[in-house]
Symmetry: C2
Subunit: 326 residues, 2 copies
């Protein structure tokens, strides 16, 4: 089967008729009509086998997660998902794998109201690049650069679940009949982008970022873009019950602060907006710290003592001094 | 140097201030303002090392071509290039390579008025995925599906140069002081997307496609989408002087019809529009055939005799019966 037939067969069901799609898969470009008065928010992410996912993971999960990580970026802007394009590189055209990959992708797309409009399939080492497009009222996207001294640093959901799942080797394990392990595994393999939270808090938050590389690294981006600092009350970092039960106490902080792959949102809010923000959301919103005029990111223990933050480092694809990890 | 520093250092110069870019590189998403009354045209393409380009090729050329192939898709719609995002997977963060890659990318971007607005850098086997966005007046994009019986099949420029360059092993060769080889090598490594032709012929053409996989395969897509057939007068396929001088006569037809990588446009025009179309363009527009009611693609020799078209096959990433070529 040639690549065009493959695409037609497995991805056509991902392109339901949508009033804003003038021309979907099957031409040189897709053509869409952005809603008047809205701006376009665009993000692109690559997931490489063996680095961002275990090649032995279920193809459905790889499909789901590939889209979810891009949707999480749209969530951080407060944008509404609209369209995406898929660039898929495969070592071979394994039909069963493709079918399941497309199923997982479709499940994530349907759940979040985004439509596949185009793609490219090439043969090579397995990797998935998705470019997702959303729209947001002009001038209303939440940026990283708007945090102000005195703002509360808040996070949605819980932190550290995905990193713990990875540490416990749950990515490809059958964990049936153990609800805690099943929960953690789902947090790693089937992250749920916080699109609803991003949209609802758009008018309240001064700044936002999604937590893909870990709180330590991602929050640094907000601080750098906003020219501020922050102090984080480590005892307030929200834990799931499964995380509480299964994480070794000694590694909790590093899992929560530097683990990554959580796809929760970190938002900076003026203190007076917190109650309203919580009313608007269905998922927990936890105050974990405060933006300061003084630059730098400080981690505080329950007694207010300063912790060593050097061990809490963000995931870096090209760490010094050894550049290659591939 | 971490990946954020790499991106800042090498790609920031690719993002000049642009009135329609609300927020460029450095946030969860880029945010752009599509012009009122225009639709968005989007295309994504992956170039994999060892498949779409020689890993030993000059990094500048890889950068240029990565963008040019996507711009060629915008050209085929008659769209104006606006913004692109870059997903770059690299085995290691070789700074010298990155700098030259960015130079080539910037040269193509500046020449064609498109702005880098975001990206993702990961480590893994070398590949480049670019998603390019353009805009086009609502309802005016040229589609593959509009060809009508009686239309002339026309192509811009010349065909077969890139395939000949590949056959002669010119991709990575130093060909200085031989203008023919230098010309062919540039056609392979530095294709020039026909954006001007796409825009200018938008109101005249019934259908268009860009020639990336070769005339035989690409024209089939137009015929399939338009529910028509075509006859091609093989002696009319336009040849460059370098191609005439250096191609073995026996392989000319297959190089021109199935070679691919030309990035010329193939357009279907009503006969009465040809003169006006030629007046509008600065590059040659050659009539090479005619759209027929009878389905199928027929290759005719100078005497009108039917040639065997089976040997003229499009490039296929997943050929039967052996699925893997990686």
């Amino acid at each position: 089967m040639d690549e065009f037939a493959l695409i037609r067969k497995h991805f056509k069901t991902l392109t339901p008729a949508s009033s804003d799609v003038t021309l979907g898969i099957g031409d040189d470009c897709a053509v869409m009509a952005p809603p008047p008065g809205e701006e376009l928010a665009v993000t692109t992410d690559t997931l490489v086998a063996g680095r961002h996912f275990d090649p032995a993971a279920k193809a459905e999960d790889i499909g789901w997660k590939s889209l979810a990580v891009s949707l999480s970026d749209l969530a951080a802007m407060g944008a509404r998902p609209r369209w995406f394009v898929l660039a898929l590189t495969l070592p071979q055209a394994g039909e069963a794998w493709l079918e399941r990959f497309a199923q997982g992708l479709k499940a994530a797309a349907d759940k979040h109201g985004i439509v596949l409009v185009g793609g490219d399939t090439t043969s090579g080492p397995l990797s998935v690049t998705i470019t997702a497009m959303g729209t947001v009222a002009a001038g209303k996207a939440i940026r990283r650069s708007g945090a102000k001294p005195g703002d509360l640093v808040c996070v949605t959901g819980t932190l550290g679940d995905a990193a713990l799942a990875l540490q416990l080797g749950l990515a490809t394990q059958c964990a049936r009949f153990d609800p805690d392990r099943e929960f953690l595994k789902a947090r790693l393999n089937r992250p749920v982008p916080r699109l609803d939270a991003g949209c609802k808090l758009r008018s309240l938050a001064h700044a936002a970022i999604d937590l893909s590389d870990g709180l330590a690294g991602d929050l640094q981006h907000v601080l750098g873009a906003s020219w501020v600092g922050a102090e984080i009350y480590t005892e307030k970092l929200p834990m799931s019950q499964a995380f509480q039960r299964l994480s070794p106490p000694a590694s909790r902080l590093s899992l929560q602060a530097a683990g990554g792959d959580d796809y929760e949102l970190c938002l900076c809010l003026p203190p007076e907006a917190l109650a309203e923000a919580r009313r608007k959301l269905e998922l927990p919103l936890t105050e974990i710290g405060r933006i300061t005029r003084e630059p730098g990111l400080r981690w505080l223990d329950a007694g207010g003592g300063l912790l060593d933050g050097a061990s809490l480092r963000a995931y870096n694809h090209f760490p010094d001094p050894e550049p290659a990890r591939a």
